[in-house]
């Protein structure tokens, strides 16, 4: 019978996983379960819920460092940070609304609540990053160290609490983006940074994806330290909750700058000047800018109540964006928008199909990038590869790395790939 275990501390977790490995029992590792519906469906013997291990254990604002137990809610982390005017610079997204339609029955809600969903351990394990990825890096770039219990049932650590550290292999990088398939983390140390004094967003109205890509390339080539570059086609822009965006009645290309007041203003003006060569421009100030980028971060264009379309996340070279958007929106009923200055394509396809996976993968294969089927009903995720299939030599290395941590394959079996 499947049971749900809730260890209170690392020693209990170690006993549990040592037992599971000995008995050959597989386990699903969950924080609060907010991202349970991402990845390949699993049929683990038991569930290990890390909810008993929550709370911030170290926060030194002057050192720009924080350590917390894995199931600490992002909401709690952000609240503590904002008291000191700091933040997680990788902008952890809140996919609660996006995943609501596939998460139903698992705590998902259709209406957006104020508190973000997700835990620090979850965001790091899945290496989820927001629009600032283009300037400040991914979750993994802010992840300094951890303690964990491996699938062998052994407690180990890697990294530390300082940024400059090359002592031994950087196993933090492996843990980030491993979706709980290598080890269960028992604490996580991250770098935190000051909240910029001011944010401004320059908008270009009416550009198609090719013009938008060109504008974003120019902006990224400028010295203006753009910290967000996104494009929404007209129907998606019109649905924005930010009136100034919705009211433009056209596609919107957005460029964000952040920093000390005079600097943000200066750079926003310079970007508007640059954008004016492409069409009409506008700008968003603090509250609007923050609200807009939160929508982009959380994929809100595809997260309105009742939206149950299949959603793909494509990471590709930024300059290939127009080609990808062109090819993919030719699929009937498809909609796409761009983040990461074109390097991230979010694509929604009508529900009830095979998510057009052959066409999507064929398109992304023409670049160096990869595609993840981020939201889809379980039946679809069961039949088509959710993560980008890997060539043979890479699969072999991935399998060996998995075995190095979890030789019996007890942790989140099959979540990323059938054989991992």
């Amino acid at each position: 019978m499947s049971e749900t275990f809730r260890p209170d501390n690392p020693d209990q977790l170690r006993d549990l996983l040592a037992w599971a490995t000995t008995e050959g029992k597989t386990v699903e590792i969950v924080g609060t379960g907010s991202k349970r519906a991402v990845g390949r469906p699993m049929a683990a013997d038991h569930v290990v819920e890390l909810g008993g291990m929550a709370g911030i254990t170290l926060y030194e604002p002057d050192e720009l460092v924080m350590t917390a137990s894995p199931a600490t809610p992002i909401a709690e982390i952000e609240a503590a940070l904002s008291e000191k005017n700091q933040q997680l610079e990788f902008e952890p997204p809140d996919y609660g609304p996006l995943l609501a339609s596939v998460n139903s029955g698992q705590g998902g809600s259709t209406a957006r609540s104020n508190a973000p969903t997700g835990t620090l351990g979850g965001v790091i394990s899945c290496n989820l990053s927001g629009p600032r990825r283009i300037k400040s890096g991914a979750a993994r770039d802010h992840f300094l160290g951890f303690h964990a219990v491996s699938g062998r049932g052994e407690i180990f650590k890697s990294g530390g609490r300082v940024v400059k550290n090359v002592t031994g292999y950087d196993l933090s990088k492996l843990m980030a983006g491993s979706w709980g398939t290598l080890a269960a983390m028992t604490d996580v140390t991250v770098k935190v940074l000051p909240v910029p004094e001011k944010t401004r967003t320059a908008l270009l109205v009416g550009a198609d994806s090719a013009q938008a890509a060109q504008a974003m390339i120019q902006a990224m080539q400028s010295p203006h330290e753009v910290s967000g570059a996104a494009w929404l086609p007209a129907p998606l822009a019109s649905a924005s909750g930010v009136d100034l965006v919705a009211g433009q009645k056209g596609a919107v290309t957005a460029l964000r700058v952040e920093g000390p007041g005079p600097s943000a203003e200066y750079r926003c003006n310079a970007l508007r000047e640059m954008l004016s060569a492409f069409g009409a421009t506008e700008e968003l100030h603090s509250v609007n800018s923050i609200a807009f980028w939160r929508e982009v971060r959380d994929v809100m264009p595809f997260a309105r109540p009742g939206d149950d379309r299949a959603v793909w996340k494509l990471s590709a070279p930024p300059a290939s964006a127009p080609q990808l958007v062109g090819e993919l929106t030719a699929i009937k009923g498809a909609e796409a928008f761009l983040d990461w200055s074109g390097g991230l394509v979010w694509l929604a396809l009508p529900a009830g199909t095979d998510a057009s996976h052959e066409a999507v993968r064929a398109a992304v294969d023409r670049t160096t990038g990869h595609a993840t089927l981020f939201r889809a009903p379980e039946e679809i995720r069961r039949t088509i590869p959710v993560f980008q299939p890997q060539p043979g030599a890479k699969t072999l290395l991935s399998q060996r790395v998995k075995a190095a941590f979890d030789p019996k394959g007890i942790l989140n079996p099959g979540r990323m790939y059938a054989d991992i």
């Binding site: 749900t4 275990f5 809730r6 209170d8 006993d15 040592a18 002057d62 050192e63 005017n85 290496n127 990053s129 283009i134 991914a138 993994r140 770039d141 491996s150 062998r152 052994e154 180990f156 650590k157 890697s158 530390g160 300082v162 940024v163 400059k164 090359v166 002592t167 031994g168 292999y169 950087d170 990088k173 983006g177 940074l193 000051p194 010295p223 920093g259 000390p260 005079p262 600097s263 200066y266 310079a270 990471s315 930024p318 300059a319 390097g343 670049t367 160096t368 990038g369 990869h370 980008q388 890997q390 030599a393 890479k394 072999l396 290395l397 991935s398 790395v401 998995k402 075995a403 190095a404």
Partner: protein, 496 residues
């Protein structure tokens, strides 16, 4: 420092191995066996350790690298990859029974892609070579180790190298988008590319900083950045190092992340001034150089704020660069700090620990005590903004026992770094130098887990053995799961 016992069989087969390698790499000078010609390869930047390799091979193509590695794998021969040989931890130290695989012929930039803001390059191109190739359009490659004219991007990846601008722009690992790797088994694999987030397990992140133990990098894609509009530096001197440490903490605490923030102590400042005449004040215990970049409105605004903080902390000198020449002059001394110290002592030994910034004053006073205990002078140069210390221990290798004393002193410094919450190495790597100190920071389980990852890439432990890990275990032994069926009872854990 003990290296693994050389394999007699490999030593005996030297001629045969050289002949086989010459077949794979037929170019003139592609294989070196002559003793005199091997000598330039006998050490890297950590010159206290020397060992000529069995042979040197200098492949020119990925296919040659693949075949060399496959040959070595099939014949159980050890391989040490090498870039420019500037490692300060003995990472590229050859083995008596090992092939030294030099990547210096991989010296071409393959593609410059301004639209995707990246450069695809062979690994033997120097760090500065990348910036040189893109600066005509106002771009640069951000990580800037002081050795940047010489060190290769392949070596930078292996060591996850840093530089003075890493405070704002990150280390090598934060600036690499993709690599092509040849495994010891002769497989060619690519991780990442021109896109963000490599996909699958983050092998790209794992390889960065893996010190040549997991594979040979044959191609690299790095991101390039547009140069800032304005750059200004500020030179500040303090009567005490506590005040200087306090200033560093207060700047960061105020929410300012400068492009770089470097500190030098009295001895380092004096040595640098005598060497390059940068115009440093000599009546101070500590000197801080803060660099700010961005649009002029931002730089001017932040310089004022930093100057204000420095004044509050009791700075006795505050100078802000008015021209780029002046800014370069501020840096000239810092950049020449190592060779400058080299002029005031027959030898010096460069340490590389990192500590939490707030422990700086305490660590400095402990360093002074240790200096007295060992009767060796120490000059301190720090990447103060990120707590990365480079104490330079001054010694004379010609005095019997002094090198050993310097090494002991160094080990004590690194242990101190770990004790206060820091780490053994911030950017120079473990190599052979800090190998035996690894247990100060890691438990046996921690180290075994790292070695299992090594086994995933190199099951027969042929790549750069004797580096990073104090004790080598066989992969089969490490992979064993100790199953105590019946002994592990069903755990008593809360459940519902």
């Amino acid at each position: 420092m003990k290296m693994p016992e050389p394999d007699r069989e490999a030593l005996a087969k030297r001629e045969e191995i050289a002949a086989a390698l010459s077949k794979i790499v037929p170019a003139e000078g592609g294989v070196i066996v002559d003793e005199d010609e091997l000598r330039p390869y006998e050490s890297d930047g950590l010159t206290a350790y020397r060992q000529p390799p069995l042979v040197v091979v200098l492949p020119e193509t990925v296919e040659e690298v693949r075949q060399v590695l496959r040959y070595c794998h099939e014949n159980g021969i050890k391989v040490v990859p090498r870039g420019a040989g500037t490692s300060l931890s003995g990472g590229a130290l050859p083995l008596a029974d090992g092939v030294l695989l030099s990547m210096t012929k991989f010296n071409r930039i393959l593609e410059i892609d301004f639209d995707n803001r990246c450069v695809v390059t062979q690994p033997g191109v120097t760090n500065l070579g990348i910036t040189d190739a893109v600066q005509h359009k106002g771009f640069y490659y951000a990580p800037d180790p002081s050795s940047q004219i010489a060190c290769t991007i392949g070596g930078n990846i292996a060591e996850n190298s840093g530089g003075v601008h890493c405070l704002k722009y990150g280390l090598t690992t934060n600036n690499v988008l993709g690599v092509e790797l040849v495994t010891i088994e002769g497989e060619v694999v690519r991780f990442g590319g021109k896109h963000l987030d490599a996909g699958g397990y983050d092998m790209l992140g794992l390889l960065t900083g893996s010190e040549g133990l997991l594979g040979v990098v044959t191609e690299v894609t790095v991101r390039i950045l547009r140069s800032p509009e304005t750059v200004r530096a500020m030179l500040t001197g303090f009567p005490t190092s506590e005040q200087a440490g306090d200033c560093v903490a207060k700047v960061i605490g105020a929410g300012i992340i400068p492009a770089g923030m470097e500190m030098m102590d009295r001895l380092a400042t004096q040595a640098a001034e005598d060497f390059v005449h940068a115009g440093y004040p000599l009546d101070v215990e500590a000197l801080i150089i803060v660099e700010l970049d961005g649009p002029a409105v931002e730089v001017d605004h932040l310089i004022e704020r930093v100057a204000g903080i420095a004044r509050e902390c009791g700075a006795s000198t505050i100078r802000v660069s008015e021209t780029d020449a002046e800014r370069q002059a501020f840096w000239a001394g810092r950049k020449a700090a190592f060779p400058a110290v080299g002029r005031i002592s027959p030898d010096y030994y460069c340490m590389d620990g990192t500590i939490p910034r707030s422990r700086l004053p305490e660590v400095l006073s402990r360093l002074a005590e240790l200096s007295q205990k060992y009767e060796l002078r120490v000059a301190n140069v720090f990447h103060a903004g990120d707590g990365n210390l480079h104490p330079l221990i001054l010694y004379d290798a010609n005095i019997p026992g002094e090198l050993e004393k310097a090494e002991e002193f160094g080990a004590e410094i690194l242990k101190l770094c770990v004790e206060v919450g820091g780490v053994l190495t911030g950017e120079h790597g473990v190599g052979v130098e800090k190998r035996d100190l690894m247990p100060e920071m890691f438990s046996e389980d921690d180290l075994n887990q790292q070695m299992r990852v090594k086994c995933a890439f190199d099951p027969s432990s042929l790549l750069n053995p004797g580096k990073m890990f104090p004790v080598l275990h066989r992969c089969a032994e490490l992979g064993r799961v100790h199953v105590h069926r019946g002994e592990t009872r069903f755990p008593d854990i809360p459940r519902f």
